[in-house]
Structure formats: C-alpha cells, structure tokens
C-alpha cells in the first residue's frame, strides 16, 4: 500500500503534508483537489511532516486535502518519438495539452510523453544467449534520420543474458521486445522505451573523455576567438537586451551537431514560439530535413509554475544524455540558468533556510556545478563516441557579473562568452565582449593568428581609451592606425548580421579563408598622409569587406570582391 497524507499548510507553491508510512526525499506525490491531481515533489522531511513543492498553481488547496505518494522520483520517458516534440518541464507534451484543453494550460493534466498509439519499426540486434549490460543496444528503430537505439535499462547492474527477443516488426513504445535474465534467474522485460529519474546522471558508458574537437556554431567570434568543444560547457552571461536569446537561437539553428535540445527555462514564451513555428519550415542543410526533426524543446516559460521550471533543466539534460547514449552529438541550450537558480531561491525562501548571498541558497554552487558536469564526451561500450555540450545563458541582476549565479557558473564552464551592454548599445552584435571573454578549448583557425588578432584588439582598445583623454591630435598616427585596424576587425569579423541570409552563418572553411585575409590586412604596414586619410581609407575598406561578407562563398563576386580588397590594400601603401 502506498503512503498517503493530509495537507497541514499551504504557502505559495509549497505545501506541508502530514503523512502515514514512509516517504523518500524527492519522491513525487499528488495533491488531490477534487478531481484534479497536482504533481508535487518532497523537498524536506521533518518527523511526520513532509514539505513538498507543487509543480502547479496551488489556488484552492485546503488544509486536510489528501496527498498520495507515488514511491518514485521524478522520471522522464525515454524512447523513440522524443524528437520534434515540445514538452513542458515535466515532459507533458504541450501540443497534446492544447488539443485537449484549448488555449490555456490547465493544471493537473498529465499525458504520456511518448504517444502509445504510434508504432515503430524495430530491428533486433541481439540474439538469445547474448550477454548484455546497461546501455547495450538490443535493437534499433528508425526515428527521422537517426537509428534510434533501444537499450538495456541504464539502471541495470551486472551482466545479463538475453532470454527472449522478438523478431523484427512494428511495435508501440511500451511493447516488450526482449527479456533479460541474470545468473540468479531474475527476469526483467525491456520495452522500446524506458524511464529514468531526471536528477540522476546516466552513466552507462565505457569512459569519459576530454573534450577536444571544436564544435562549429558558425558564429565567427565564437568559433574563431572563443570556441566551444564538443562535450564542453560554456555560458553566456549578459544584461537584458544584450542578445543572449538571439545568440542561442542562432546556435540552435546552425551548430554542427546531430541533436539540439532547447530548454526554455523561465524565459519568454514568445521566444519558444519562434523556434516552435519556424523550425518545422527551416531545412537543415546537412540532412535536407526540417530542423524540428533534430530538435526537442523543453519549455517552461516564466509564467508557468516555478517548481516545474526547476525540473525542466534536469528533464532537458536527461534527454540529452539519452541521445548521447546512441553515439550522437547533442547540444543542450539552457536559457536561462538564472531563472532556474531563482526557482531554487524561491523554494529555499519558503523552506525558511538560512540564505546565502543575495538570498540564494548556500548549495547553489554545487547544484550548478553538478548540472554542468552532466555535459561531456564519452566512449560508449560499443566504441562509438557521443557528446553532450551544454550552453547556458545567465541573466545577472543589473548586468553585474559579480553576482552568485554568474560566479558559480564561471567556475565550472570551459568557455565564457560575456555579453556587454556597451557593445549592444552600439549595435555591435553579437555583443560578446572580445576583451573579457575566454575559452579553454581549441578553435577552427590557427592559434597564432588568433593571438595576433586579440593583440590588435587589445592595443587598439588601449589607444581608444587613451584618445579619450589626450584627444585625436595627441595620438601618434601609427597608434591611430592601430586603433582603426582594431575597429576594422571588430566591424567586419566580430560583428555578424544575424538577419542576413549569408552573413548569419559562416562555415569553418569560410572562417579560415576570411580570417586569413583579414589577418593579412591587419599585419600590413600602412602609411597615410594624415588621420583623415587613414579614416577615409578604413571607412571604404570596412564597407567593401562587409559587402564581401554578404556574398556567398561559391559566387563569382566573392572572388572579385576579394581581389578588390587586395587592391585597396596596395593603395594604402601608395598614400605615403
């Protein structure tokens, strides 16, 4: 018999429940409100009282209402049919909810994440008597462009023997396709889908590796200057309006990965809608299929219940780990981790825990660290490699990076793309600060060229600062040219027009080509009669290079424009 209890207190989305029997930490329970069952999770137990966070609006609950405990942790369903879906933080499929409940998110409505009425073409890859262990492939089903592996449940310990396996055929996700037996004679069934608790990492792999291979995002400033590695982690902190979300959206479109999981965590619904409505119509150049077929959206927007927001990042990372287990490269984009941290803070406040800095709970740092640690490259048991790359945005209060969430995140990530208000105000997008940001990974262009370009940026900026004090007339012409060079590099390479068909995404090959040309220009010795002539020249050069950026690399004009640039460079010498 399962445990039940009665509500003794309601405070916001937290209820206190007096229970009979046993409950576990993080166990899921349901508060009964008439016919409705509101999903909740145990966050603290004190004697016979459990404090639970409710994943729904608590309006209408009363002292004495019944609570039923499930005996399980918060789990998600893993199986074919996840791709292309839109879930809320608890893995409720939103389109289905819309079909059943209309415009609004009715509380207490839970649907299976994977449709039970759809069948999948299963091909077994094991035979009776084979020895298998957690994470081994039993068979495959085609899901879109991928061979979706049906795997031995990740939680299984030791080596098991295949006792039974069905032949190839069409089956629903809950159909038992194999039975496994161990030496003691215990038998467990394996279906096309399995369940996994979201807060526990999936570890059914052979070895975890160091992320070394670059992940091309097709955003020049990232790939060239502050690269991200497959299986690496990065964060994008920035004040509001600095372009975090646009950056995430661009990455979700153009990044060179197999699968993208978008976790819209406590952000605007409108942004999810853009992804939701546009992705089905955009074709992935690699596969020729719609982008939606490689995307899963976990969407718990800011007006949806706060506790489910906390669950949503875990749901997202669990799905990412699941596809990694199939030897795929997965990118998880979490926007924004600050909202998740705030959900922790709200709950901590209701529990009346002793607050840490800015009232965030004292365990914030370890929670953030263990989340980012779920990223990584792994070798699977069959020798293939899979990766989960995690990119999280951070929304620091007041745009000040000294706040707890940004600082805790910076400690654990491999790359930092700090967005700056000054750059976004000047419409220099993407507004990643080229002087403050850093990355520990290797990029797509030659490292010594990048070092040189960064030096130009740094010194150019110093000259710019100095000029503010001593004025243009007090600046030496050579310094002034250096400043112009830095500005030129910024204007034609760091800045990228997200809304232009060609400029929005620059392939690694094109980056190498363009960057080499630009570094050549930066290295050139230029002589000008005076500062005005220098400025005039750089105005024209900038415009010509920007025009170049807007031409497709295959087009004939691309080459012509490049020779025009080279011609201009020659001219800079003749100015003397």
């Amino acid at each position: 018999m399962s445990t039940t209890g009665r509500i003794t207190g309601v405070n916001g989305n937290m209820i206190t429940v007096q229970f009979e029997g046993a409950v576990g930490q993080n166990e899921v329970g349901f508060a009964r409100l008439g016919e409705l069952r509101l999903m909740s999770e145990v966050v603290r137990v004190r004697g016979r009282y459990a404090d639970m966070q409710v994943f729904e609006d608590t309006t209408g609950l009363a002292v004495g209402d019944r609570v039923e405990f499930s005996g399980e942790l918060l789990t998600v369903e893993l199986g074919p049919g996840l791709l292309g879906q839109v879930f809320d933080g608890l893995q409720n499929p939103l389109p289905e909810l819309a079909e059943k409940c209309g415009f609004f998110l009715k509380r207490g409505m839970y649907f299976p994440a994977l449709p039970r009425d759809r069948s999948w073409k299963f091909t077994p890859s094991v035979k009776v008597g084979d020895a298998v262990s957690a994470g081994d492939t039993i068979g495959t089903v085609p899901e879109g462009i991928f061979q979706h592996r049906v795997m031995v449940p990740f939680g299984l310990n030791g080596v098991w023997k295949v006792a039974e396996v069905t032949g190839a055929g069409e089956y629903a996700v809950d159909h038992i396709v194999a039975k496994l037996a161990d030496a003691q004679g215990a038998v467990i069934p394996v279906a096309l889908m399995q369940k996994w608790p979201v807060k526990i990492p999936i570890r059914a792999y052979a070895e975890r590796l160091r992320p070394t291979e670059a992940l091309t995002t097709k955003i020049r400033i990232i790939d060239t200057f502050f690269p991200v590695a497959r299986g690496g982690t990065y964060c994008i902190p920035g004040p509001f309006g600095a372009g975090k979300t646009v950056l995430q959206q661009l990455t979700s479109r153009y990044a060179d990965v197999d699968i993208v999981i978008v976790a819209a965590c406590g952000e605007r619904a409108g942004e999810v809608v853009e992804t939701l409505r546009e992705f089905p119509t955009i074709h992935d150049p690699r596969t020729g299929r719609s982008l939606m077929e490689r995307t899963v959206i976990i969407c718990n927007t800011s007006s949806m219940p706060v506790a489910a927001r906390e669950a949503s990042v875990y749901t997202a990372v669990t799905l990412a780990e699941y596809y990694r287990q199939m030897g795929l490269q997965v990118l998880l984009l979490a926007d924004s981790t600050s909202r998740w941290a705030q959900a922790l803070r709200e709950m901590s406040g209701r529990l009346e825990e002793i607050p840490g800095e800015e009232a965030f709970p004292a365990y914030l740092e370890s929670v953030i660290a263990s989340f980012y640690e779920r990223g990584g490259v792994v070798t699977l048991k069959d020798g293939s490699t899979g990766s989960v790359t995690i990119g999280g945005t951070v929304s620091p209060a007041g745009g000040n990076f000294d706040e707890p969430v940004t600082q805790s995140t910076l400690k654990v990530v491999g790359a930092f793309h700090g967005l700056s208000r000054a750059r976004s105000d000047a419409r220099r997008y993407p507004a990643i600060d080229p002087l403050d940001s850093w990355s520990k990974y290797g990029g797509v262009v030659a490292a010594q060229d990048v070092a040189f370009a960064r030096q130009v940026l740094g010194r150019g900026s110093e000259v710019g600062q100095m000029m503010k004090v001593v004025g243009e007339e007090g600046t030496h012409l050579d310094d002034f040219i250096l400043h112009l060079k830095a500005e030129y590099l910024d204007a034609v390479y760091l800045q990228q027009d997200a809304y232009h068909d060609v400029d929005c995404a620059t392939s690694a090959e094109r980056q190498r080509h363009v960057f080499a040309t630009i570094v050549h220009i930066l290295r050139a010795r230029m002589r000008f009669a005076d500062k005005d002539a220098a400025r005039q020249f750089f105005h024209r050069l900038t415009q010509a290079t920007r025009d170049w950026n807007r031409l497709a690399m295959e087009a004939e004009e691309f080459k012509q424009q490049q020779s025009r640039l080279e011609g201009m460079l020659m001219e800079a010498d003749s100015h003397a």
């Binding site: 509500i7 207190g9 309006t59 415009f103 309006g241 607050p355 809304y499």
Partner: protein
C-alpha cells in the same frame, strides 16, 4: 451560507490572521469592521491559522471584526458594458455608472499554452519615428517604458493609446496621481476613444495593497476581449508601485528578502502578468505597454532589472525623448523586414552614427580639437535630435524613413555611412550626388 469568524489573532501591516477551518488557498474573504468592509485574500494556510491580505489596508481593523469567507477567488464581471467605464482597483465603479453584477470571471488564471501562440506579425503604427523606425512596436508585445519620475510617460502612453490601431484599450492605474487619472480620462474622451476603453484606476490616495489586484483584473478582462477576437492594448502605470506593494506584503509575511527588500519571487510575479500578452492563433491579441519608474534613474534597481528580463524590450524615456541607446523592441525584426527594404539599414546606420556623435560630444566637452569627421557627426547629431527624436514629431513610417535618408545625405558621403552599396544606389537622395562626386575627387 458561509460561516462568519469573529476572532482575529494577529494584525501586522496589512495582513491579519484568523483561526478557521476548510479554507482554500487564495480564497477571498470580506472583513467588516467599524471602518467599513474590505476584501481580503488568503495568502497562507498553516494548520487552522489563515493569513489574509487586506486590500483596503488593516488600519482600523479591530480584533473583533467579522471575517466572512466567500468560497471563491477574486472575480470581476465581464461584458461589453465595461467599455467606457471607470472602476477602482477592486473593480468597484469609480464613475457614476451602475455596478456590474453578471458574468463573473476569475482573475489570475493559468498561462497560455505556448503551443497555441503564434509568431507576432503585425506592426502597431504609432506615428512616433523613434518607435516606428527604430524600435517598432508589434502586436502582442509586452514593453515597458523605463523613466525617472517626472518624465512625461503618462502622456506618451496616452498618445500611443490614441494613435495605435486597436479595438479595445484597457488602462490599469496603480498609485496613479488623481490629476494623471483625470488627464488620461479627458484625453481619451476628447479624442473620442473613451467608448473603446475600460479603466481600472487605483490612485495614490487609495490603500497601497489594493493596487496588487489591478494588473490581474486588467489582464483578465483583456483576455476575455481577446478571446472574443478583439485586438486589445493594455496600459499599466506604474508597475514599480505594484512591486512595492508586493514587497510590503512579503516583508509583513517575514519572507527572506532577496534584493533591496523585494521578495525572491519578484521575477515570477512580474512575469505572470507580462506573459499575458499574447497573439492567439484563432482569436485576438493582447499588447501590454507598462510604465516602470526607475527610482534614482537606476536601471539596475530590482524592478526595472527584472522587468527588462521579462519584457520584449524597453523604451527609455529620458529628457522627454525616447533614448535610442538601451531602448529596444525585441520583436521589431519580425515586422521591419516587411515594411520597406531600407528600414533595417536606416535603423542600424543612423543609430551607429548617432553613437559616434555622442562620443564626439564627449570629446568636445573635454576641449579637444574637432576633426572634419567630428564636425560632420556634430551636424548630424543635432539634426537627428531635432527632426527625429523630438516626441512632437508625428509622421508615418515611410515619411520617417525618407527623412532619415535626407538627414544622412545632408551630413555625410555615402561611404561614411557604412550602408550597403546597393541601397545607396537606390535610396540616396539624388540632388546631393554632386557633393558626393566632389568628395570623391578631394579624396583622390
């Protein structure tokens, strides 16, 4: 019949505690004391102790006041009869009209399923170039106006309300000065727009906590109009007062404050309201324009800061003008590609050059010599401020774009603007092409 409770245990701030059974979370109660009757809402249940937030304020409530629970959460009447009417912060008539008693709807309902939303696609034309050209307002957008107290934000709101092409206007006043309320009403009346407006006004003279209801009431009503295929514009002024009321209650309830005394859930509270802005796939839409005054002109203050993260951009009102830096409409890219091909280019180029002008101004104020480029920027900046930024400028979008080209041509050579050569050929005003050729010669 609902039971009446007589024994109030605690009174702290605007929160009272009463012992009662079978009470539901967020249920409404009526508290009757010597000073009159007020609505109150359940904000915490703990055993048999019920905490109630009293909307009219707890001042004058005695421990023997009568508390009658109503068995439902806050509701407002909804019908077409609301149009043209003015109500208080708790939806009682403020004008001389009759109280409305039918078709009650719950306020603060659930949020819209993201799967039922659509990508906003219609521009809201305002005739203000700083909005139409540079930060286009889009139907279903939620946008705050950040301003220091004393800026003409309410008149800007009123002007947008009059000029925007919408079916219904809902005004929510929170801590509104009585004069401001009257001037809103009079402006709408003068221009014949009152018949399509509903006003819920909590004035500065009313009890502070009462303003907590205003956004929810406005948005619940707006939602009903939108479901009935209406395009609704909701104006809220001022959300900082709303947040301060939240703070007051949170402190009274002894919640751990997160930042400058505001509760940790300020973000979620504000988001729950702003996120009501929506474009339904098969019905109308809600656009929300709200005023957030910035205490001390500080945008990092928790209220504007959290708001900025929630809304789809913001307008900064400074010195009576919409400031081009910082002001942002996040949705503009959805519509400004379809207006005219030069729209985005004009928008970006003019702002980049204006940024250059601001730098030059700084240099000038430090007494540096002005180069010929600086001179051009100075001329440009002055023209831009006078002919574009001034809030009295009232031209349709296309006129404003042409004006932009004229200003650029009056100050610069085409190459100096960084505008793609193709657009220059098409739009650069022809009469100054002589000046361009001349500039080319002097350069060679």
């Amino acid at each position: 019949m609902h039971k009446v409770y007589h024994q109030i245990d605690n009174i702290a701030g605007n929160v009272v505690n009463v012992k009662a059974h079978g009470i539901r979370y967020r249920e409404l109660a009526e508290i009757t004391s010597r000073r009159g009757t007020s609505l109150a809402q359940v904000i915490r249940l703990q055993g048999d102790s019920v905490s109630l937030q009293v909307f009219a304020g707890a001042r004058g409530i005695a421990t023997d006041a009568h508390v009658r629970f109503l068995g439902h959460a806050m509701q407002v009447p909804f019908s077409e009869a609301l149009l043209g009417r003015v109500f208080t912060g708790s939806a009682m008539p403020r004008d001389k009209g009759p109280a409305l008693k039918d078709n009650f709807i719950e306020i603060g309902g659930p949020s819209v399923n993201p799967a039922k939303r659509i990508i906003p696609r219609r521009m809201v034309r305002t005739g203000i170039p700083m909005i139409d050209v540079f930060n286009t307002l889009v139907e279903s957008q939620k946008l705050p106006i950040f301003a220091r107290a004393g800026e003409p934000y309410n008149s800007l709101l009123a002007r947008i309300a009059l000029q925007a092409e919408v079916d219904v206007i809902i005004l929510g006043g929170m801590g509104l000065k009585h004069d401001d309320y009257l001037s809103f009403r009079d402006t709408l009346e003068e221009h014949g727009a009152l018949w399509r407006a509903v006003m819920f006004v909590h004035t500065a003279a009313d009890p502070v906590v009462e303003c907590l209801l205003v956004p929810d009431i406005c948005l619940a009503v707006a939602e009903q109009f939108a479901l009935a295929n209406k395009r609704v514009l909701v104006l809220l002024t001022d959300m900082t007062n709303f947040s301060d009321a939240l703070k007051e209650i949170a402190i009274t309830m002894e919640q751990v404050p997160s930042n400058r005394g505001y509760p940790g859930d300020l973000y979620s509270q504000l988001a729950a309201r702003y996120e009501k802005a929506v474009d339904f796939d098969t019905a109308g839409s809600i656009t929300v324009l709200a005023v957030t005054t910035m205490p001390g002109d500080d945008v990092t203050h928790p209220v504007p800061d959290n708001t900025g993260y929630i809304t789809e951009g913001q307008f900064y009102l400074r010195g009576g003008r919409i400031e081009p830096f910082g002001s942002l409409s996040r949705l503009k890219q959805l519509v400004n590609g379809k207006t005219r091909e030069d729209h985005r280019t004009i928008m970006n180029s003019m702002i980049q050059l204006y940024a250059g002008y601001r730098e030059t101004l700084e240099k000038q104020s430090m007494g540096f010599r002005m180069s010929s480029w600086d001179q051009k920027l100075l001329k440009y900046g002055a023209m831009f401020e006078k002919e574009m930024m001034d809030l009295s400028v009232n031209v349709p979008l296309e006129g404003a774009l042409d004006l932009g080209w004229r200003i650029l041509a009056g100050c610069f050579d085409p190459v100096e603007t960084g505008i793609p050569s193709k657009l220059i050929e098409k739009f650069w005003p022809k009469q100054v092409s002589g000046a361009r050729a001349e500039a080319g010669r002097s350069q060679a």
